[in-house]
């Protein structure tokens, strides 16, 4: 008897119906769950992960939300995200720099506590942590940028003179003072947030942002000519000729004054 004219067995029919129902039900439930799971990747920008946290997409696969890192943090910096109030990645650890920053313990107890490696156990030196990057977000209100010597963010930085330096420039407003601009060097900034915590303004002018928000990135294929030339020890292309760049006005002829500025006038009695 061919399959076509065999009567459909009721068991088989029931099995197929049940399976289809279950499959469809699970697809619906699973799609809802997947939607929530995808949503859970969106952390609020002020929520920073503990030191050594894997990149966010790996972190959410690795963190079992047990809270042991929170327990072992001696400064009560970390807390677990609560449902509905701290973003959707419920139960995952984070800290808010403005409230309690990371004190950068030498023995990194939170990383030692993590049972799964969501906080990378290869992080041995806390200075290598990259919890975020400090960004001076508001130059208009930063006291140092106004020409005052607040310097607090610079002074409190645990990696002072490397992660934050004060860059001196002319104070155009007063005309005879300097501006000491706090300047973050992302290569050294651990993102601990002490600067943000200590900023004296009612709303911090320097903030630690997750690296994904704080930083741009250079294109893979970019080569910086000056670096290449240094590595090579000589110009990369021989026999380059320097053509004149002629712009309107005097004193812009690079051939007449190579690399320099030719004054448009000569002060009487000064030099030749």
């Amino acid at each position: 008897m061919s399959a076509a004219n065999a009567p459909m067995s009721p068991q088989r029919r029931r099995f197929l119906t049940d399976t289809a129902r279950m499959g469809a039900g699970c697809a619906v439930a699973g799609a809802g769950l997947a939607w929530l799971a995808t949503d859970s990747r969106a952390l609020p920008a002020e929520a920073l992960r503990p030191p050594g946290a894997l990149p966010e997409e790996d972190f959410l696969a690795a963190c079992i939300r047990c809270g042991l890192c929170v327990r072992d943090c001696p400064y009560d910096t970390l807390s677990l995200a609560e449902l509905g109030s701290d973003g959707p990645a419920t139960g995952t650890p984070y800290f808010t720099a403005r409230e309690v920053p990371c004190e950068m313990c030498d023995d990194i107890p939170c990383v030692a506590a993590c049972p799964t490696g969501a906080l990378d156990p290869d992080l041995r030196n806390i200075d290598d942590a990259r919890m975020g990057t400090a960004v001076l977000v508001d130059q208009e209100n930063c006291l140092n940028f106004l020409g005052l010597r607040c310097d607090v963010c610079y002074r409190v930085c645990p990696v002072i003179d490397e992660a934050i330096t004060l860059e001196m420039s002319h104070n155009d407003r007063s005309g005879h003072h300097a501006v000491f601009a706090p300047t973050v060097h992302a290569d050294h900034c651990t993102g601990c947030g002490v600067c943000e915590k200590s900023c004296v303004l009612p709303e911090a002018a320097i903030k630690v942002l997750p690296v994904r928000l704080a930083r741009g990135s250079s294109a893979e294929h970019y080569r910086k000519g000056w670096e290449e030339q240094d590595n090579h020890g000589a110009p990369l292309v021989d026999g380059l000729i320097d053509l004149p760049d002629r712009l309107p006005g005097p004193g812009t002829d690079n051939l007449a004054a190579p690399g320099g500025f030719e004054p448009a006038f000569t002060v009487p009695g000064a030099g030749q």
Binding site: A62, R65, V70, T116
Partner: protein, 310 residues
């Protein structure tokens, strides 16, 4: 319907055995649930840090790691191979529950169990209809779906909604709006589906059920011959389909409740006035010979000759 069936559940058991024997596993189970919760709360409440962490992962006395194997499994399919501590913790949990029955977790440890039990109590109290009853194996399908979603999204998927760890973590660390999720489970069990969450849907229970498939600790209906069909065990059992094969088995059919769905809660032992059920191990399949029915009018009859066996 027998007259006995119409009596309140557990009525004869209390009459015959006394209140304590008719409730001891229920009381012990509640104590156990409170005990495991309190262990985790000792730290945050009283500063006694014997146990730190949550049910998803914990550390006892600073050395013993325990990890929820289902959470860890989701992490693994999501693409993260965990460190040794978490693996060891999961192996310990796996070994213990494989031995004593995976769903012992459900009935003796899980903090959602008192919630759904309360919902069921109120459900019975209000005399509500059983409502939507999806098949028992729906939870297995859901478990599969959870693993698939974890693999596809790279997130430990069930932990985003898991009311068990939400509630537990909420009590230990701060609850946020997780109580709303617990309330949803309560209302679901109360109005939408009798025994719906733990009995039909929860994928964690499904996982632990599979884990306990070959467990050593079992309930046996070894004195099934004494059963007087009062149906109280069926009324109290949260997974009452597991009883019939053992209790109604004929001849040499095993009296052991071997279904992995059985949570080893022991409530059937409590409510049985004739002590049909008892805890035993899975290799103990002895069946007690039927005894003459309880002395009702048998009073003055002297036994004539040896009691026939069989």
């Amino acid at each position: 319907m027998k007259a006995k069936t119409a009596l309140p559940v557990g009525y004869e058991a209390i009459q015959d055995k006394g209140w304590w024997l008719a409730h001891r596993f229920l009381i012990l189970r509640r104590l156990s649930q409170a005990f495991f919760l309190l262990l985790f709360l000792l730290g945050p409440w009283f500063g006694i840090w014997w146990v730190e962490g949550t049910l998803a992962g914990s550390r006892t006395f600073g050395v013993l790691p325990l990890t929820d194997p289902f959470v860890l499994l989701q992490g693994m399919v999501a693409g993260h191979w965990p460190e040794m501590t978490a693996l060891m913790g999961a192996v310990i949990v796996l070994a213990v529950y494989a031995l004593i029955g995976g769903r012992v977790y459900c009935s003796w440890v899980c903090p959602i169990n008192p919630v759904t039990d309360a919902a069921h109590w109120l459900h019975e109290r209000l005399g509500l209809q059983k409502g939507w009853q999806p098949k028992r194996h729906t939870r297995l399908w859901l478990m599969g779906a959870v693993l698939v979603v974890s693999a596809l999204t790279g997130v430990v998927a069930w932990e985003i909604v898991n009311p068990i760890t939400m509630l537990h973590r909420g009590l230990v660390f701060g609850i946020g709006f997780a109580w709303a999720l617990v309330l949803m489970v309560f209302l679901f069990d109360l109005f939408v589906s009798r025994r719906g969450w733990c009995g039909h849907l929860c994928p964690v229970g499904a996982f632990y059920g599979l884990l306990g498939t070959g467990s050593l600790l079992r309930v046996s209906a070894s004195r099934r011959a004494a059963c007087d069909d009062c149906m109280d065990c069926f009324a109290v059992c949260p997974e009452n389909h597991v009883i019939a094969p053992a209790l109604r088995g004929q001849g040499a059919a095993t009296p052991l409740i071997l279904s992995p769905d059985c949570t080893n809660c022991g409530r059937c032992i409590d409510v049985c006035s004739v002590d049909v059920f008892s805890f035993t191990h899975r290799f103990d399949s002895h069946i007690e010979a039927p005894k003459p029915p309880r002395p009702e009018p048998v009073a003055n009859k002297p036994a004539a000759g040896p009691i026939p066996e069989g």
